[in-house]
């Protein structure tokens, strides 16, 4: 039960990745580093005496600004380029952010204990910590807000229009540069919120990013780019499957299982696409 909720945090990071990938055709490798920075934001607020729950929106806002600046500085140069260029650029950013965080915050492992209780059922055999339920709720909430935002708001419509056809959108008077910047900043904000949840639930350190990047990548590949609900489902499924594998095979195979699953999904997707004559750009 508790294992299922772990997937909620993966799902959050995956929303952002799906958004950036779908709209900008950029595979954002520094996804995990946004999560890490969000975690540190929550941690430092916690140290200053602010409750970590407050850290979630604050981390989102700060990371929004950070994402916007990053877009204006680097990402706008790679939007229309080959997919590999964007992967290289964001990979470089990911290394840069890791090292900067290491310099600024130190390599120590930190955690912001929100003091949430754990619920017990069946004579302590099933335990669910409240913080994971909060994470789960936050993932659902952010997913719903995102879906509404994309469907209803002007900006959301502009984002969707740009995703469908950037050139046409530009002809129709949409400032696609601004749309891209907002999309990227939004992604950073969602990851920041996820990071605050990570700091509350587990622990943070400068090098925690990669597992989140890899898992969001998997979830997006499985769920597709335009489907928020599918992303959530895939995220939860991955969280549960991964922990189940750790339980059955032993923790040493937990990561191996995730990567094996990634390969399996890629293969399956290829055959499936061949059969349905689909086209994935």
């Amino acid at each position: 039960m508790s294992n299922l909720l772990i997937g909620a945090v993966f799902a959050l990071a995956a929303y952002g990745m799906a958004l950036v990938w779908g709209v900008m055709n950029v595979v954002n490798i520094c996804q995990g580093e946004f999560v890490m920075l969000g975690g540190y934001t929550a941690y430092f607020l916690f140290k200053a005496g602010v409750h970590p729950l407050v850290g979630i929106p604050v981390a989102a806002v700060l990371l929004f600004v950070f994402g916007w600046l990053l877009y204006r500085a680097v990402i706008f140069r790679v939007v229309d380029k080959d997919l590999f260029i964007s992967i290289l650029a964001t990979f470089g950013l990911s290394i840069l952010l890791q090292q900067l965080a290491n310099q600024l915050f130190g390599a120590d492992v930190r955690t912001a204990d929100a003091g949430f209780r754990t619920l017990f059922f069946f004579d302590n055999m099933v335990t669910v910590s409240v913080v994971k339920i909060v994470a789960f709720g936050a993932a659902l909430l952010v997913g719903a807000i995102l879906m509404l935002f994309l469907k209803k708001s002007r900006l959301g419509q502009a984002i969707r229009a740009t995703a469908q056809n950037a050139r046409a959108a530009r002809i129709m008077g949409i400032d696609t540069g601004r749309v891209y910047a907002t999309t990227y900043a939004l992604n950073a904000a969602i990851c920041g919120a996820a990071g605050a949840l990570v700091a509350m639930t587990w622990l943070i350190h400068p090098y925690l990013g990669l597992p989140y990047t890899v898992r969001s990548f998997m979830i997006v590949i499985l769920a597709g780019l335009g489907n928020v609900a599918a992303v959530l489902a895939a995220g939860l499924g991955l969280g549960a499957a991964e922990n189940f594998a750790g339980f059955i095979l032993g923790a040493e195979y937990q990561s191996a299982f995730v990567f094996a699953l990634l390969v399996a999904i890629l293969l399956w997707r290829r055959f499936w696409l061949d059969r349905t004559r689909g086209y994935l750009k």
């Binding site: 508790s2 290491n102 492992v109 302590n124 032993g250 923790a251």
Partner: protein, 411 residues
């Protein structure tokens, strides 16, 4: 700027270059100063412990110089250490060791922080036959290569949690149970450090006839131990052993409380550097923690006095309480001082032989090297977190508190 000024600037520049080029060429002894060399991690992932290492070396140097210096033959010398930042990367550490030996002419090396970096430097010191005394490379594999010039002041990894297994066995015997009935669960990170520890405890568990019921290898990028702990909860072991650096320590403490994993005795490593008692509060109560050293131990030496006096001097100098990483580094300098005095010479071979024959007590513990160069005279220490304080409960000869067993869960 007038012409003469430009000329004098140029001349100054040239002079600066000459001086810069000239200094490193001098050898191990400059006038009345013995120069030691060390590559330490001042940046990168080991920067915290790298600074502990450097502070440990510097405190020893300052203390020795203040007390008159090192007597070699009939002359006394001051100590000095040349440092470089190895950026926490093995390749850089090996380069810097070459540089210290070839360019700076250093003849005696102090170790870097971590087993990995020591492993990178040891082949270099071996090649140039330069003695290295280190306090922060604990991996047993370092001492299986037959290195002649490598010496370590700390206890090697296989000893880290042995004491916990023995403590569990003795507690069982005292309660009238057969230690062979005990069930042991183990979760060790899949890296050389933790796997060495695992080898050590497996050996002892087998000797007592204990049954190993869970034996998980945690992947290095693991951020969650839920899967392992679910298993442990189901099999109800009598002893749980966890090692995975600070990350493993924090996760073990946090998640056993969160998932209410009831094990009578839990022993982990790195809980002092992870500060589990300070940051996680009651969740850390009654955890056992392996440590190389503690300030409450009753060792002493002529340079620093007792362990507690060392700790106070350290606090007064650096404004933080000394972790064992600093203490074992200080001890490494003391080994050189002792060996140089006994050798009465700067010949690297004679100093090496003097180091190999070391048999001394320091504030950090007794030091005596076996033929592979590791210290076999100092046992590991086990703390228990009691009321938010780290109390030494084993080995019983030096213990300042009594073990609380079985562990009760915090409310």
């Amino acid at each position: 700027m007038g012409k003469p000024q430009i000329r004098s600037t140029l001349a100054l520049g040239a002079l600066a270059i000459l001086v810069a080029a000239g200094v490193p060429a001098s050898a191990k002894v400059e006038g009345d100063t013995i120069v030691l060399g060390a590559a330490v991690s001042l940046t990168g992932k080991y920067s915290t412990n790298g600074k502990n290492t450097q502070d440990g070396y510097e405190l020893a140097v300052a203390r020795v110089n203040e007390k008159g210096g090192v007597q070699v033959g009939d002359k006394t010398y001051k100590l000095k250490v040349v440092y470089y930042d190895d950026e926490s990367t093995p390749a850089r550490a090996a380069q810097l060791a070459e540089r210290l030996i070839n360019q700076d002419g250093v003849k005696f090396l102090l170790g870097p922080y971590s087993s990995g970096l020591t492993k990178a430097i040891a082949p270099v010191t071996e090649k140039y036959k330069i003695p290295m005394v280190e306090g922060n490379g604990a991996s047993l594999s370092l001492f299986k290569e037959g290195y002649r010039y490598l010496f370590a002041t700390l206890s090697t990894t296989e000893f880290y949690l042995k004491e916990a297994v023995n403590l569990a066995a003795m507690t069982a015997q005292a309660a009238g149970r057969d230690p062979a009935e005990l069930k042991v669960a183990m979760a060790f990170e899949n890296d050389p450090f933790s796997q060495d520890i695992r080898a050590g405890v497996t050996e002892d568990a087998e000797r007592w006839g204990m049954k190993v019921v869970v034996d998980d290898k945690l992947p290095p990028e693991l951020n969650d131990m839920a899967a392992t702990l679910t298993k442990i909860k189901a099999v109800k072991p009598d002893l749980l052993l966890v090692s995975g650096h600070t990350k493993g320590a924090t996760l073990a403490v946090r998640q056993t409380a969160e998932m209410r994993v009831e094990v009578p005795m839990i022993a982990i490593t790195h809980c002092d550097s992870a500060q589990v008692a300070e940051t996680l509060g009651s969740a850390a109560e009654y955890f056992l923690c392996a440590s190389q050293w503690d300030r409450s131990l009753s060792y002493r030496d002529d340079w620093f006095g007792s362990a507690e006096e060392y700790a106070q001097l350290f606090e007064a100098t650096y404004d933080y309480s000394p972790p064992y990483q600093a203490a074992e580094s200080t001890a490494a300098v003391l080994v050189f001082v002792d060996a140089l005095q006994r050798a009465g010479s700067f010949d690297t071979e004679e100093v090496r032989d003097a180091i190999a024959a070391t048999d001394m007590q320091t504030f950090y513990g007794n030091i005596k090297f076996d033929e592979t160069g590791k210290n076999i005279a100092k046992p590991m220490v086990l703390y228990q977190v009691q009321d938010g304080q780290y109390k030494v409960v084993a080995p019983t000869d030096w213990a300042s508190a009594k073990l609380i067993h079985p562990r009760r869960l915090p409310e």
